[in-house]
Symmetry: C2
Subunit: 287 residues, 2 copies
């Protein structure tokens, strides 16, 4: 069973959740009501050999990526990160544990979400960091979900896609917290839907289309590509871009590139001349 | 470097945390202020081959233990669990993923803290579940910390210790949520300190003594032992008891066994006749 399928089963089981769960599994973050406060929370793992090359990656960049990936999930809701927890599985022979936690601590502070809890265990497997991040929704706009896109919206990207792993971008990307908050403040309810691109523009845009019950059409020539990306076809499926895909009732948004539009229907396609290419499964099925 | 040492480094780094962090790393849960609400949060891992026998343990009991361990951390603060997240690392050849998540979901509901988020990744290592739990502190008493024990308090246990792994108790224990809440409601500020026993009575009682700046003295004959535990010496170091150790300004507490007292000084000892045995390192250094 693929990860995406597994996650779908999890979402299906969560169909009837208590009222304190405002947004359950299936978006970038959950939104829960605890003691009257609305809280964003998400968890994500970084696994050696899968999300970074264990022998080559500096400890500082492993720690940075573990935190930044989670911060990016908060950005995708236009929220503010507040606190972090980190559970680490360390190979028995691992010798950089203290440095690793020093850097996790430092990066959590850097992104404004200090480390408040953790767990350490030894493992026979690769180095793995499971990070949980908490945050607050945008005060005026509230959490921006994947499900809000409507026909007539335009589709925007916060930066280029492709070649993230090869270029090292996946270790040094800047989560789009400030940008997301500015857009949410400016557009309010005209900001309809957002997601951060972790698994590939194709698969992630399709998640927005599915959650919103709409179709997303992108123009091949409009998709901005990172240096080293041969064509838009690699760009939509490489993954680990950590840029925001934004659907908004707006013709232009300062700092973003317009790449397509939301229409009635379903699926996610790229138009190149007369060709219409289905990209809804283009990417990594990281779940 | 041992896990306990590593964690101490983490606590040291967290000495100056922002005001939103009411209790930082080093207790059973962190307590954070988000949007004016006080929230308990903790993270803990369950690793195949370390916390359960991978080939022999039914999927249902793996899921139960992963959730119940975290619920026990909320119990140790006298809190109420509200929401859960679960990040799973699955071996490539693992075939029970859907059943595992079905049971994680069911047990999270059972303990009143529905699963609101998750992450799944494949790993070359053993099955590992990193669970994060959120909760609310006791409405009247507030969170019960490890640091509140004072000379003159008595020390109590909520149940027997020892032989947890051999007896299967570690898979089927009942987190002491209701008991902890009743004690907190009854005793209020006379309930001074609590911890749940995961690493062994010796090492865990010593954590309370250290956090509180006191000495804990227990009576060998008073320590209740699970069937199959040869003597108190095994009982204080076996670990995985998931009972509450309670320090309170009370001579007796309904449903608990009095096993010792808090005095001035430091360390943690067991008295047996004229002998005084240091048990402060008796247990598993799981951190």
């Amino acid at each position: 069973m693929r990860e995406g399928e597994l996650l779908q089963h999890i979402y299906d089981r969560s169909a009837s959740l208590p009222r304190s769960v405002i947004v359950g599994p299936g978006d970038d973050c959950a939104v829960v009501d605890i003691g009257g406060a609305h809280i964003l929370v998400a968890t994500d793992q970084l696994i050696g050999g899968r999300h970074f090359a264990e022998s080559e990656t500096p400890t500082d960049l492993i720690a940075r990526k573990a935190i930044a990936r989670n911060v990016s999930d908060i950005a995708a809701m236009a929220g503010t990160p507040t606190h972090t927890l980190c559970a680490a599985s360390l190979p028995e022979e691992y010798t950089h544990a203290d440095e690793l936690f020093d850097r996790v601590h430092a990066w959590a502070n850097h992104f404004g979400c200090p480390l408040v809890g953790g767990d350490i265990a030894m493992t026979a497997g690769p180095l793995a960091l499971a990070v949980t991040i908490m945050g607050t929704p945008h005060a005026d706009r509230g959490p921006v979900l994947r499900s809000g896109a409507r026909p007539g919206d335009h589709v925007f990207l916060s930066g280029p896609v492709g070649a993230s792993y090869e270029s090292g971008w996946h270790l040094g990307f800047e989560p789009r917290i400030a940008l997301a908050q500015r857009i949410a403040s400016d557009l309010r309810d005209r900001l309809r839907a957002m997601i951060d691109l972790s698994d590939g523009l194709g698969i992630d845009a399709h998640r927005v289309a599915t959650a919103s019950g709409v179709r997303i059409e992108m123009e091949a020539h409009a998709i901005p590509l990172r240096d080293g990306t041969p064509s838009w076809r690699e760009g939509v499926r490489d993954g680990e871009d950590y840029e925001l895909l934004v659907c908004a009732q707006a013709d232009a948004i300062d700092g973003l590139v317009r790449i397509g539009r939301v229409v009635e229907g379903d699926g996610c396609v790229v138009r190149e001349g007369d060709e219409v290419i289905d990209v809804s499964v283009q990417g990594w099925d990281h779940g």
